[in-house]
Subunit: 557 residues, 2 copies
Amino acid sequence: MNLLKVDMAEGRTRVEPLPDDKVLGGRAIIDWYMTEHTSPGVHPLAGGNPFIVAAGLLAGTTAPSSGRLSVGGKSPLTGGIKEANVGGAFGHKLGRLGFLGIVVEGKASQWQVMRLDSRGSTLEPAGDILGLDNYDACEKLRGRYGQEIAVIITGPAGERRYANSTVAGTDVGGRPCRHAARGGVGAIMGAKRLKAIVIDDAGTSFRKAVDGPAFRAAVKGALDAMKNAPYGQKLVTHSTASFVDVDNNRGSLQTNNYRLGKFDKVGGINADRFIELNKDRGGSMGHGCMPGCVVRCSNIFHDAKGRYVTAGLEFETLALLGSNLGIGDLDAVARMDRKCDGIGIDTVDTGCAIGILNDVGLFQFGDAARAEALIEEIAKDTLMGRVLGNGADVTAKVFGIDRVPTVKGQAIAAHAARSSKGWAVTYATSPQGADHTAGPVGAGDHLSPVGQVAISRISQIVNTALDATGLCHFTFSYKYPEIIAPLINAFYGLSLTYEDLLEMGKEMLRQERAFNLKAGIGPGADRVPEWMRTEPLAPTGGVFDVPQEEIDGFFNF
Amino acid sequence: MNLLKVDMAEGRTRVEPLPDDKVLGGRAIIDWYMTEHTSPGVHPLAGGNPFIVAAGLLAGTTAPSSGRLSVGGKSPLTGGIKEANVGGAFGHKLGRLGFLGIVVEGKASQWQVMRLDSRGSTLEPAGDILGLDNYDACEKLRGRYGQEIAVIITGPAGERRYANSTVAGTDVGGRPCRHAARGGVGAIMGAKRLKAIVIDDAGTSFRKAVDGPAFRAAVKGALDAMKNAPYGQKLVTHSTASFVDVDNNRGSLQTNNYRLGKFDKVGGINADRFIELNKDRGGSMGHGCMPGCVVRCSNIFHDAKGRYVTAGLEFETLALLGSNLGIGDLDAVARMDRKCDGIGIDTVDTGCAIGILNDVGLFQFGDAARAEALIEEIAKDTLMGRVLGNGADVTAKVFGIDRVPTVKGQAIAAHAARSSKGWAVTYATSPQGADHTAGPVGAGDHLSPVGQVAISRISQIVNTALDATGLCHFTFSYKYPEIIAPLINAFYGLSLTYEDLLEMGKEMLRQERAFNLKAGIGPGADRVPEWMRTEPLAPTGGVFDVPQEEIDGFFNF
């Protein structure tokens, strides 16, 4: 498979084969390229920081839910390596075109759109899509390039190089509702003056496996396993919104600026409410974000008049823009989500940034109008918007706030660290900063400090390897040995064992950590904020009490 | 000697002896306390981050120029350990009262002033000095506590917890013109709600040496050496402003946002201009900042009507608020310096922050009115002022600027790295961030990359040890073995060798680096911004070309 190298300063693209001595896909391509070809000291917004887009090993194949896209570079938010993972249609099409990666370097003098199809790639002036809401920009791009394209795009926030900018990707319906949201990857793209990449796979076919019959058998095995997975059906009927109740019942739902683990208005934002509103309005559950998705964990939300508001209104958003702001109103949260998607900013860091303003009297919990107005400031590029658009850490600095729920400069996600202690270990140790995709911890006694480092470690190793395959995390990563290895082996003619795949995950984590170390982020950054060790979280009363010495041994593998 | 421990939350002070198994003064007290008693993960603005004030080993003695004060804690600007060094009258008086250190922890509910005299210490409501310009606040404090007091105070900037806030100290004339300026130590003080410490040494005497005759001889030896030092007299007649021409001639004077090393309007801000204006206006050179100062490197500046404007208008300020902003007007620079002193913000990071705004069209070089207006925004606490008041690094983030002249979050000082490469090694490696006091490099071929690591290393080691003594850096640190050891030995009855003193400096640097590592700042942060390696600096054409591998070996001692 190939890598597309793009030099924005020269306006040239070049096709290179990926190294054939390595098994490289998705996040592993980012890790490899950053390790071998990028100076760790590069400024995240400099031309020398590559903007990397990489599809997984199984992209463009008939493997189910295999089109996840990794988007990365050196993060403007964390200052370390970044892989932001996103669904949508782009990854699958990229694979079908014979590419697993695109690496963009240098800065163009004028904004460009890159077009990629079976005839090759071109850079063209971005024209009248600059500054537009992502939805409007994608509609114009479809008008320009055809209805069948998939798009990844940096929004107005990324054009302005906000450190909390996303790269939006269109879903199967062409909506830019999927976001490589974390770490500010939209600003890396924007700094290159690359507004969008438009991809059209017309005339291509599914990629062919080396061992066709074995691959078909492996696909069938994967489908069976995924259909029978423990909470698979619940995801289809209730979407990721189902986790709102799970976490609330556990006392680990971020509420009121990370001050509570249980939300008294949870019934206003949970899956039941979503389903209830859908009935009369025409929204839906069971929405798949990628071609070939069997997980179908996403959703579409309509307003009271039955008009589309947003899609992909996921758990993390419901928590950070909902309960974390004390807002128990699904309509308001949906509007905010849609606004964030249009600007191209991460809902997690945005919700965190608005929440901490409560500490300095600039936001009151439950004030949805104020929250929407603050997001509107980001849209309008006011100075307040610039501050918020750079995420929670910069907001905390500007306002002198010392209770800051971030790790390595990135906001802690929706599972409250003090009542979900395995998650907290993931937040503390991931080279990606406090990231909800780095290593979920769904099992065990969430309130006990015992064993959490071990469970986070295996989760991070498995999920990191999974990010190289393009498979959705909801393919139930703990089934990895039974599902994943046979797919890769049959497709590529390999004979990887479970141990080999674990080793792949370990090696990727080692590369990421080594990059961060060279970039100036020391091992001492592997910790949750200190106040989480002393301030009890109601209602569980939990404080974070996994010994730091044990956390410091996380990377002993 | 004693340590005064202050618990702001409880409103209690307690006197403790300093450990008697260590030779601890000044910066060494900060290093010791942070190493032994402070969690490296503490938030810089949290109650658990100690605000430390420490006088040197020779404070309160008859040793010349020995009253320098170290002010520190975990820096809000760098996230690492910080010692900001300042002259003025406080250090000497602290020594005479029997203390070498004050450690302040916890947060008061109401703003306090601490009063310290021969009867003890008390905390009293800060009252009507809150929010005032430092000059006005100090005048009120003198009205309240007597004309003979010395004061250290956090200004309006520190009250608001700006990461670029200073702790101002009064000079021998009671003016708050001396600043522990770097690293945001004013915000550490402000976060405790400790507005000022007022000290009165009435009724005390010079501290007594263990070996009086030997100490008197050592003092005489020091005085003789300092009087005969190579550029000692020039400092008296031309003040630190004399370095403006030195650096300009070398092509290493920061000019126009670090884009040039030579300033075409240098004649408007150099020492000759200063002296010329002084003639008719009544300003002066040869001003000593501390009791017993024989260096007398400072100055006083008056306006065209003969009215006092500012004192301590030093080289770094002339460069960062003058040439670096393209402003060749000493009157304008003096007004800006006075304004920064009144607010309590560092002129170096402020000049850097204003300069980088040129990259996004928000500041034009030479526009003194605009620069003054931006500083006024900081005074008025507008949102723009909050951004600028948090220093160059936050300003760069908010405005998406990628050419950022900072190391470890702190602005590079007045000696241009690309034409003064030894200085650049100091900026890169010092655990204090890019600091002009960490290890000056005055000798050698400034344009050659060869040997700069070695010369910065010995300079940092020597100057770090010097910061434990309370002696001014202009006591010509390379005379260290002849001057310093005899003073310490005679005073304390010790028999330290030159090697012992070097080992003290090394151990302090090791402690600082270890703290930073635990705080999350890895060795990879020891580098200058990458653009300095590729963008030549006119007129020398120098790029920074000391090999990074050699810099990475800096701490191999």
